[in-house]
């Protein structure tokens, strides 16, 4: 593992990603200190350009501080990204591992089930779920989790299949270990690295899906999120570009950072890349 960390740290793009993500986390952590009020508070005149009247990044149509919104929105975006990825991992890895290890009829059934989800466009399904369940932070996490798990399940299945056929697994089986214990102790730990990589990318796509949902007005109306800010600022973009530009940059940077980390992790965890 130490080798992996060293390889990871040797890559400038991975480091850059880490640095940006650190800043985003810092923003989320500092939001209540730097901007103690609610990001919904109307603190100044509406549509003030950046740098005027004490607002660093300007104000939106209702006189809400864009900077405050971005800092407070960071925690919402990160929380939704991580929570929905955990949900997707839980479903995807479980189903994928069962399918890959059990094989036969169970495998075929689960694969068909995954295919049902894969034939429906991700985002359309997410919109549908949120619209039906009424938008709230938990339904959004649920919806994003539900549309994000199929790739993870397929990946896990293939990994488990190939590792389950290796000699050390057969050895474990010969020693009389139960299926559950083999799966958990021997197979999954050896299959996990590509899943981690894909999982990290899923966080980025979850943040993007949440932003797109909020942009369309399907976000939780009680949480300030970046997608919401762009959606609300879009209508006045000819008068106040800052209302949509800055939250847009925030989404862009976060998504890029997570992708960079994912790439670097991929290289670091890939056994075929030499670590000498």
């Amino acid at each position: 593992m130490n080798d992996s960390i060293r390889t990871f740290l040797r890559q400038p793009s991975g480091l850059l990603g880490l640095a940006i993500l650190f800043l985003v986390c810092l923003a989320a952590a500092l939001a209540p200190i730097l901007y103690p009020g609610s990001p919904w508070d109307m603190v100044g005149a509406p549509l003030q350009p950046p740098g005027t009247a004490g607002s660093l990044l300007g104000t939106d149509t209702m006189g809400r501080d864009i900077a405050s919104g971005i800092l407070h929105g960071a925690s919402v975006s990160l929380m939704i990204g991580i929570a929905s990825t955990i949900a997707a991992l839980a479903v995807g890895v479980t189903l994928g591992a069962i399918a890959g290890y059990a094989g036969g009829m169970v495998d075929r059934l689960i694969v068909r089930f995954i295919e049902i989800f894969q034939t429906i466009p991700n985002f359309v399904l997410a919109i549908l779920l949120v619209a039906i369940l009424t938008p709230s932070i938990s339904t959004i996490i649920l919806a994003i989790g539900l549309v994000s798990w199929p790739p993870l399940a397929r990946l896990t299945r293939v990994q488990v299949q190939s590792i389950a056929a290796r000699e050390f697994v057969q050895a474990a089986r010969c020693q009389g270990l139960g299926s559950m214990s083999i799966l958990l102790r021997h197979v999954i730990p050896n299959a996990i690295s590509p899943i981690i990589v894909t999982g990290s990318m899923t966080v980025a796509s979850a943040i993007l899906i949440e932003a797109a949902l909020s942009f369309m007005g399907l976000g939780d109306p009680n949480y300030m999120s970046w997608g919401y800010m762009i959606g609300a600022g879009r209508t006045v973009i000819r008068m106040a570009w800052w209302a949509s530009l800055f939250p847009g940059l925030a989404i862009l940077l976060t998504a890029v950072a997570i992708n960079l980390i994912g790439e670097a992790l991929n290289d670091a965890l890939n056994p075929r890349i030499s670590r000498s």
Binding site: W40, P46, T61, M62, T134, G217, P221, N222, A232, T235
Partner: protein
């Protein structure tokens, strides 16, 4: 062609385009007062037969093809249309209309009193709920001769003359509809009216082409030779069409509020909010009075004191509209400004809430209430967000709930909400468009646009009932003044603004907006400045 050459050509075309459209502008109207008009319509109406369908776009285009007996000036005073003159009997029970003798249907048949009797007594009663409500008050509708119609009422009804607005009671041709299934009549594809314009072509999804009715009964009308209504479903494209002069007229909510100030400031365009007096929508925040703490007047007063209607006008509606002082819009008759005026006062609001015994907890929250966000676009979302922030100053925490349009109507009409917002047309008279929101006989579970807040006050019921059956405007005004004072003190809903719609038109277009229904009018007098 070499790629570079091709690029040059593209560039050339790009440069030429703006110049071309400028040039075209000059050509289009270089024909004196007459000439054509291109207007925007959105959404595309499902049908143009106004007696059958009264949606807004149908009213806008149908208003050129169909007519009713009367039109109304900006003060909502009745003016002649198909009826040249009219008399009302002393007792307010008999209305006699004398019809225009030269009026003809678009197919050449004469328009007579038989058509009026058929429309008001037969067809509209079956297909037009609002007209049914009014004409059911008639004991008889008769035609003593070809050009006279007599309406006999069962009891006096003050706003009876306001029932003859084009969309409220459009005249339908008897010779086409009598004895048929009105909604399935094949003639619905080729509407036949008496108006100054008739349908030439309807290219679905693209445009509706109206041409001047040469046989129109009013001297010198119409001036315009044709009107194209272009279907433009996208908001940004509508703004661009107005900017470039491709279209010369837009109405109602065609142009998004945030684009209105920009377009209004352009030298070749003019913006007016006149011509919506008949509709005069009033916007309010609605509290479910069946629930605590909304049943307590002190809470409603506190909520009203925390809100600032000016903010909604200026910041959410970009200057369109004006603060409302009470239930009746200032653009209609019987409006009385002498009511309690609420000024935004956070300290007084907090004092009222303290008095109620709603204590602030450690987070400064007295109570948490829910707000049902109206699902009809950005404007309504901003309105909800404003409500939440305004209430927060009084320690009232507001949680926003979202639904789809169907769910919204269902929840509000079944009284399953804490607070929400709403906007209703006044239809020219308090008896037609105001009373319905406050009289207790109109508390009807499951029906939208009724007394959904659940307000019940015997005195108010009585005043509204009595005012409806009086015929003297002076007596009616007295009763309505009383009712306004009571309501404003009682705050059954929190009135915020009188909403205004922007009509944006080419600066050279004249006389288009000359009645209380503005863009829904006939456009018989509309002309280009020479």
């Amino acid at each position: 062609m070499k790629r570079r050459g091709f690029n040059k050509m593209l560039l050339g075309a790009g440069l030429a385009l703006p110049a071309m459209s400028l040039f075209r502008d000059g050509v289009a109207y270089a024909q004196g007062a007459a000439g054509g008009l291109t207007a925007i319509i959105n959404p595309e109406p499902p049908v143009l037969v106004l007696p059958i369908n009264q949606q807004i776009p149908t009213g806008t285009i149908g208003g050129k093809i169909y007519e009713s007996l009367l039109s109304y000036d900006f003060e909502l005073k009745p003016q002649p249309q198909l009826a040249e003159s009219w008399e009302i009997s002393e007792d307010g029970l008999t209305y006699t209309f004398h019809l225009a003798k030269k009026a003809k249907w678009h197919d050449g048949k004469p328009f007579t009193s038989a058509d009026v009797v058929f429309s008001c007594n037969v067809m509209l009663k079956e297909v037009h709920p609002r007209a049914r409500g009014v004409f059911d008050r008639c004991e008889s509708i008769t035609a003593p001769d070809d050009h006279t119609v007599v309406f006999k009422l069962k009891a006096p009804f003050g706003p009876f003359l306001l029932a003859f607005e084009t969309s409220s009671a459009p005249m339908a041709p008897k010779h086409i509809y009598e004895g048929t299934d009105y909604r399935k009549n094949p003639a619905n594809d080729t509407p036949i009216g008496t108006g100054p314009f008739k349908l030439k072509e309807w290219s679905r999804g693209s445009h509706i082409h109206l041409v001047a009715n040469e046989d129109y009964y009013l001297e010198g009308q119409p001036v315009l030779t044709e009107i194209f209504y272009k279907v433009v479903p996208d908001g940004a494209s509508r703004s661009v069409a107005m900017e470039t002069g491709e279209a010369q007229l837009s109405q109602f909510a065609d142009i998004e509020p945030f684009d209105v100030p920009r377009l209004a400031a352009m030298p070749n365009l003019k913006m007016t909010t006149k011509g919506y007096e008949f509709f005069s929508p009033v916007l309010w925040y609605e509290l479910n009075l069946r629930k605590k703490p909304f049943d307590d007047l002190r809470f409603r007063k506190a909520a009203r004191l925390l809100l600032d209607p000016k903010f909604i006008v200026d910041k959410i509606n970009f200057g369109l509209g004006k603060p409302a002082t009470g239930p009746i819009a200032s653009t209609t008759k019987f409006y009385d400004p002498n009511v309690t005026i609420y000024k935004t006062d956070v300290a007084a609001a907090n004092a009222l809430l303290d008095e109620m015994g709603l204590k602030k907890d450690a987070n400064g929250v007295r109570t948490t209430i829910k707000f049902l966000v109206v699902p009809f676009g950005e404007f309504w979302t901003r309105l909800a967000e404003y409500f939440r922030q305004a209430m927060k100053q009084g320690g009232i925490e507001v949680v926003l709930e979202t639904t789809d349009p169907g769910g919204f109507a269902q929840r509000v009409s079944n009284w399953e909400f804490d607070t929400t917002s709403n906007m209703l047309y006044q239809n020219g008279d308090p008896a037609l468009g105001v009373a319905r929101s406050y009289i207790s006989s109109n508390i009807r579970k499951g029906v939208m646009f009724t007394n959904t807040e659940g307000y019940s006050n015997k005195e108010v019921d009585e005043l509204f009932d009595r005012a409806a059956v009086l015929t003297s405007d002076k007596e009616r005004a007295e009763l309505y003044s009383k009712v306004q004072k009571i309501l404003v003190d009682d705050l059954p809903v929190l009135w915020m603004t009188e909403q205004q719609f922007p009509t944006i038109h080419d600066a050279r277009l004249e006389n288009a907006i000359d009645t209380a229904i503005g863009v829904n009018g006939t456009f018989g007098r509309a002309r280009w400045a020479s």
